[in-house]
C-alpha cells in the first residue's frame, strides 16, 4: 500500500478487545507488549476517546521496549534470598546510580542521562565512553549485526553532548565453541560462522571509519551457541564546553546522514523478546561505514561552529526514538514527507519507526540552518528539516497533512506501568572441590594454554586496524615479536585534540568471567571490576581516576532465578564501585538472551557481565607494556594466594566442580591500587600484569591461570621497587578469612598450580578493609 493511500485502515482498534486478543495483535506485529502495558494503553485511549493509529502503537511499543526503558532494571522487584524477602524499588537506582553518587567524583561530567558517560580529561577536554550490545541482530546476521553494532555505538559517541570524536573502538564477543559438533535448531548459524561474520563485521565497519580497534576479548562457551554476545565500545574526545545540550521550542528538527528505508524495523521491540525462529527479518540492518564517516566529519565541523544546540542518534526506534527523546520535555511536530527515503513505497509508520543506519537528529536554531546546510553539503551528506520542537508537550507526526501520531509526551515517557517482578536467589551450599581426574602439572598447563579461552587471538586482532589516527601507544599485541597480548590499550588522542605537545593519554581495560557467575554472580561482578581496574593499573593508568561501564547480558528476567542472579550481579557492581571508589558512568543491559535449542528446550546464556574501565594516563610516554624487558629482571609476587579455585580454568581442565570463587575485597579508597600504580617514570619499560580471563590483550599463558590465583609478576627490579614495595607491595596484612578452607597459602596440589603459573595481583589481599557487604 502506498503511503498516500493510507486511510482508516491505519487505525488499530484496541478498545473493547480482550487481553488475549491484544496479545495476539502484539505477537502479529512484534510489539512485545505485556498484558499490563496493553491495559495501560487501552486505558489511555479510552480516556482520550479514540482508537490508536498503527504508528502510535508502534511508537508506544518502541518507547516502552526493554531496549529503551530498561524495564527490568527500573521496575519494582520482590527479591527472595534464602528465607529473607525484601523489596527493590528500582534496581538501577539502588545499585549502579547509588554507588556512583556515593563515591562523588567531581570529574564525572555526564552520567546516565545522555548517550554515553562523560568524564573530564584534563582541564579542557572530556572523554566519552559507551559500550553497546548488538546480540540479537548478530545472531540473525553476524556480519551485518556486528557491523551495525559498531556503527550504533559510534553514533552514540557522536550523539553525546554536542558530539565527540571517536578515537577508539573496543569489541568483546561471547560465542559457542567454533568446533561445536552438536545439533542446532533450524535457521541457527553454527558458532564458527557466527564468529567469522562478527569479526568481519566489526573489522569492516571500524576500519572503514578510520577508528582504531585496540581492545576487547573473546569468550567461548557452548551456551552462547544460539545467542552470541557482541559488545561494541567506543571512546570519544570532546571539548568540555560541548558536554551539555539543550532543546528549545522553536528549534528545527533536522535529520542528517543516511536515507530512511524499510531496514531495521522492530529492532527495539525485538530486544524485548526471546530469540526464535519467528524473529523478524526486517530487524536486520546493513551498515554503510562511509556514510557514517561523512556524518562524523560534518557533524564535528558543525559542532565547532556551534550550529546546533542538541543532537542524538537514530538508533533503535529510528525517528520515533530520537525525536521522542529530544522533545520529551517540550514537544515536537514532525512532517514525515520531508524525510529523504531510499524507496518510495514506505508506509507512514515505517518511515517513523525505521532503524535505517547512519542517521542523526539535530535541534537547530532556524538562524543557523543555512550555515549547517553548507557544512553538510561540503561533506556530501544529506540534510532535511523534518519539523520543529514545540511547547505543546505532545508528539505530533503528520504525513501529507494527515495526522499519524498525536501522543502526550507525559504518557509516552511516564505512562509505562511498573509491574512487580519476582526474583529468587538460592545460595549454593558450600561445596568442596570434587570430581575430576588429577593430572600432572605440565599436562594440565599444556591443556590450559591450548584452551579456547586462553589461546592467542592474533588472527582476530590482526584484522583490525589498531594504528589508524596514530595514537595507539600500548597496542593490543606486544613483545619483541609483536604477537603477545597485553593488559589494556593506551591511546594518545592527539588526532582529536590537535595538540602534539600534550602527552595526556587514556587507557581502556575490561573484566569478565561468566564461569564465576555460574557459582555466584555477586563475586563475579566484583572480580570483573577488580580485573578491569588491575588491567588499567598495569599499563600505567591512574586507577583513582577510573570510570566504569557495566554491560549485563542475561537470559529472560521473567524467570525468577535469572532475575535473582541479575540482582546479585548488580549488587556486586554496587559494592565494587563503592569499594574501589570508582563510579559507573554508563552501561547497558541486554536481556532475553535465550532460545529454543534443537530439542525445543530453552537454552539460556550464562549470566554475563562485561566491565569496561577507562582511566587517564597522565603521560602517555610513560605507559607500561607487559612483556619482560630483559634477562635477569626480578620477578615479584604481589598479593595473597587463597584456595579459591572455584570457576577456574584449572578446575575445568581437571573436570572438577565446586570450590570457592575468588572473593574480592577492595581496599580503602583504592589505596593499594594507587600505591601499586604510581605512574612510572621510565617509558614502556616495566611490565606489571594481571590475570585477565576475557580480554584479548592478555597473555595466553596467563589465561591458563587458576582464576582465583592472586599474584603479580614484574620483571624489572627498579620498576618493582619504584612502583611498590617489592615483596608485599600492596599487601599489608590481609584481612582474616572467614573460611578456614581459604588458607592464605595453600599447600594443596591446586595451589601448586597457582605457584607454578604467573598469577595476578588482587586488591583483595591488599588491605584490612572488610569485604563488601553481601546483601
Amino acid at each position: 500500500m502506498s503511503q498516500l493511500a493510507e486511510t482508516a485502515a491505519d487505525v488499530m482498534p484496541i478498545l473493547g478487545k480482550s487481553a488475549k486478543e491484544l496479545k495476539a495483535l502484539g505477537a502479529q506485529r512484534h510489539l512485545s507488549l505485556s498484558d499490563a502495558e496493553w491495559a495501560a494503553i487501552q486505558a489511555h485511549f479510552k480516556a482520550v476517546k479514540r482508537e490508536p493509529s498503527l504508528a502510535e502503537l508502534e511508537t508506544i511499543a518502541q518507547t516502552w521496549s526493554e531496549h529503551c526503558k530498561h524495564k527490568t532494571f527500573t521496575s519494582p522487584i520482590k527479591y527472595h534470598e534464602g528465607k529473607k524477602t525484601r523489596s527493590i524499588k528500582n534496581l538501577f537506582q539502588e545499585t549502579i546510580v547509588a554507588a556512583t553518587e556515593a563515591v562523588k567524583k567531581p570529574w564525572c561530567l555526564s552520567l546516565f542521562k545522555d548517550n554515553a558517560g562523560v568524564v573530564a580529561f584534563g582541564k579542557k577536554w572530556a572523554l566519552a565512553m559507551k559500550v553497546e550490545t548488538h546480540n540479537h541482530p548478530s545472531a540473525l546476521e553476524p556480519y551485518g549485526g556486528a557491523a551495525t553494532g559498531v556503527g550504533g555505538v559510534v553514533r552514540d559517541i557522536l550523539g553525546v553532548g554536542l558530539g565527540a570524536k571517536p578515537v577508539l573502538n573496543t569489541d568483546t564477543f561471547c560465542f559457542g565453541r567454533p568446533d561445536y559438533k552438536g545439533g542446532l535448531p533450524e535457521g541457527a548459524h553454527h558458532p564458527m560462522r557466527t564468529m567469522r561474520g562478527v569479526v568481519a563485521g566489526v573489522r569492516d565497519y571500524g576500519n572503514r571509519m578510520g577508528i582504531p580497534t585496540a581492545g576487547g576479548g573473546i569468550w567461548f562457551d557452548d551456551d552462547y551457541r544460539l545467542n552470541p554476545l557482541v559488545f561494541c565500545g567506543t571512546v570519544g574526545v570532546m571539548p568540555q564546553w560541548a558536554v551539555k545540550k539543550q532543546v528549545k521550542p522553536g528549534d528545527l528538527i533536522v535529520a542528517v546522514g543516511g536515507r530512511t528505508g524499510r531496514d531495521g524495523l522492530h529492532g527495539a521491540t525485538f530486544s524485548s523478546a526471546n530469540l526464535g525462529a519467528d524473529a523478524p527479518s526486517s530487524a536486520v540492518q546493513i551498515g554503510h561505514a562511509i556514510q557514517e564517516k561523512r556524518v562524523l566529519d560534518a557533524l564535528l565541523a558543525a559542532r565547532d561552529k556551534q550550529l546546533y544546540s542538541s543532537v542524538t542518534d537514530c538508533g533503535a526506534g529510528g525517528f520515533s526514538s530520537a525525536i521522542g527523546e529530544l522533545g520529551a520535555d517540550c514537544g515536537a511536530m514532525v512532517r514525515l514527507e520531508q524525510a529523504p527515503l531510499k524507496v518510495s513505497d514506505l508506509d507512514s509508520w515505517e518511515i517513523w519507526l525505521s532503524e535505517s543506519q547512519e542517521r542523526m537528529v539535530l535541534a537547530v536554531n532556524p538562524k543557523s540552518l543555512k550555515a549547517l546546510e553548507a557544512v553538510f553539503a561540503a561533506e556530501g551528506c544529506e540534510l532535511a528539516v523534518l519539523g520543529e520542537f514545540t511547547k505543546t508537550g505532545r508528539l505530533q507526526v503528520m504525513h501529507h497533512e494527515r495526522s499519524v501520531v498525536d501522543l502526550d509526551m507525559k504518557f509516552l515517557h511516564k505512562g509505562l506501568p511498573r509491574v512487580e517482578r519476582e526474583a529468587v536467589w538460592t545460595p549454593a551450599p558450600a561445596a568442596k572441590p570434587a570430581g575430576g581426574v588429577p593430572k600432572k602439572m605440565g599436562e594440565a598447563i599444556r591443556e590450559m594454554v591450548a584452551n579456547l579461552n586462553v589461546c592467542s587471538r592474533e588472527w582476530v586482532i590482526r584484522q583490525y586496524d589498531h594504528e589508524v589516527q596514530g595514537g595507539t601507544i600500548v597496542k593490543p599485541l606486544q613483545g619483541v615479536r609483536h604477537d603477545g597480548p597485553g593488559d589494556a590499550c593506551v591511546i594518545w588522542p592527539h588526532a582529536a585534540t590537535g595538540d602534539m605537545n600534550d602527552f595526556a593519554a587514556f587507557a581502556v581495560g575490561h573484566g569478565m568471567n561468566p564461569e564465576y557467575g555460574r557459582i555466584d554472580p555477586y563475586w563475579m561482578a566484583l572480580a570483573a571490576v577488580d580485573e578491569a581496574l588491575r588491567n588499567l593499573t598495569c599499563v600505567g593508568a591512574d586507577p583513582s581516576r577510573a570510570a566504569l561501564l557495566d554491560n549485563f547480558c542475561w537470559a529472560s528476567p521473567d524467570d525468577p532465578k535469572q532475575l535473582g542472579a541479575l540482582i546479585r550481579a548488580a549488587e556486586g557492581c554496587r559494592d565494587a564501585a563503592k569499594g574501589f571508589s570508582a563510579p559507573f558512568i554508563s552501561g547497558k543491559d541486554s536481556l532475553f538472551n535465550q532460545s529454543k535449542d534443537e530439542k525445543g528446550k530453552d537454552l539460556q546464556i550464562p549470566g554475563t557481565l562485561l566491565i569496561s574501565a577507562l582511566a587517564p594516563v597522565p603521560d602517555g610516554r610513560k605507559a607500561v607494556t607487559m612483556d619482560f624487558k630483559g634477562v635477569g629482571n626480578a620477578l615479584y609476587l604481589i598479593g595473597r594466594t587463597n584456595d579459591e579455585l572455584g570457576g577456574s580454568l584449572y578446575h575445568k581442565t581437571l573436570g572438577r566442580t565446586g570450590g570457592e570463587v575468588p572473593k574480592v575485597s577492595p581496599p580503602p579508597r583504592s589505596t593499594a591500587s594507587r600505591r601499586c600504580t604510581r605512574p612510572p617514570r621510565a617509558a614502556s619499560c616495566s611490565p606489571r600484569t594481571t590475570c585477565p580471563r576475557a580480554a584479548w590483550p592478555s597473555a595466553p599463558s596467563r589465561w591458563a591461570l587458576p582464576a582465583s590465583s592472586a599474584a603479580c609478576w614484574t620483571s624489572t627490579k627498579s620498576r618493582a621497587t619504584r612502583a611498590s614495595t617489592p615483596t608485599r607491595p600492596c599487601s599489608s596484612p590481609s584481612p582474616p578469612r572467614a573460611s578456614s578452607s581459604r588458607s592464605t597459602r595453600s599447600t594443596s596440589p591446586r595451589s601448586s598450580a597457582t605457584s607454578a603459573s604467573p598469577p595476578s595481583p588482587r586488591w583483595s589481599a591488599a588491605s584490612g578493609r572488610p569485604r563488601p557487604t553481601q546483601s
Binding site: 553476524p142 560462522r193 527479518s281 526486517s282 556514510q291
Partner: protein, 166 residues
C-alpha cells in the same frame, strides 16, 4: 530507442580476478564449502556482480565497468548476456549471492553515486552480488545447501545456482 525506454535498461556487470592471479577469496570460499561436505569441488574463483538499472547505454555500461568497477591490471569484466548459461554436465557451477531487495545495499548506493560522478547518467539503482565459479562434480541441491550454510544467509540473501561453462 527513446530516452524513457533507455532509462529502464538493466545491465549485469561481472568483475573477476584474472585467471593468472591467485584468488584468495575464492580459496577461502572453497574451504568453507568443503567444510560443508562439498569435498568433490576442485576450485572456486570469486567475482562481483553489479546489476545497474538506469538511463545508461550499452557503451556507458561498458565504460562504468572498465573505469569504475574493474582494476584493469588484475581484473577483467564483462557484461553478462541475458539468457540461460550453457550446461556442462555438473562439473562447473555458477553461484550468485544477491542481497534481497528489501535489504540495504551500501555498495550499490556507492556505485550509483560513483557512476554519476564519472559523468555518466545517474542510474536509478545498482545492486551488488558475490559471484562464485565452482569447478568439481556436485549436485545443485548440495551446492545450494552448502552455500546457505557458509557463503550466504537465507535471511538476507537470494542465491542463484546454475550450471555454467567456465
Amino acid at each position: 530507442m527513446s530516452g524513457k525506454v533507455a532509462a529502464q535498461n538493466t545491465y549485469v556487470l561481472e568483475v573477476r580476478l584474472r585467471t593468472e592471479y591467485t584468488d584468495a577469496e575464492g580459496a577461502a570460499a572453497l574451504a568453507l564449502l568443503k567444510e560443508q561436505g562439498l569435498t568433490s569441488l576442485k576450485e572456486a574463483r570469486m567475482g562481483r556482480l553489479y546489476e545497474i538499472t538506469g538511463a545508461l547505454t550499452a557503451n556507458q555500461a561498458q565504460q562504468a565497468g572498465k573505469d569504475l568497477l574493474c582494476d584493469a591490471v588484475t581484473q577483467e569484466f564483462r557484461v553478462v548476456p541475458a539468457g540461460a548459461a550453457p550446461m556442462n554436465g555438473m562439473n562447473f557451477w555458477r553461484v550468485e549471492v544477491w542481497l534481497k531487495p528489501t535489504v540495504s545495499d551500501p555498495v550499490g548506493a556507492t556505485v550509483v553515486e560513483a557512476i554519476a560522478e564519472a559523468g555518466l547518467p545517474k542510474p536509478a539503482s545498482a545492486r551488488c552480488a558475490s559471484l562464485y565459479l565452482l569447478s568439481g562434480r556436485a549436485m545443485k541441491a548440495q551446492i545450494e545447501k552448502a552455500v546457505a550454510k557458509s557463503l550466504a544467509n537465507p535471511l538476507i540473501h537470494r542465491v542463484v545456482v546454475t550450471e555454467a561453462h567456465p
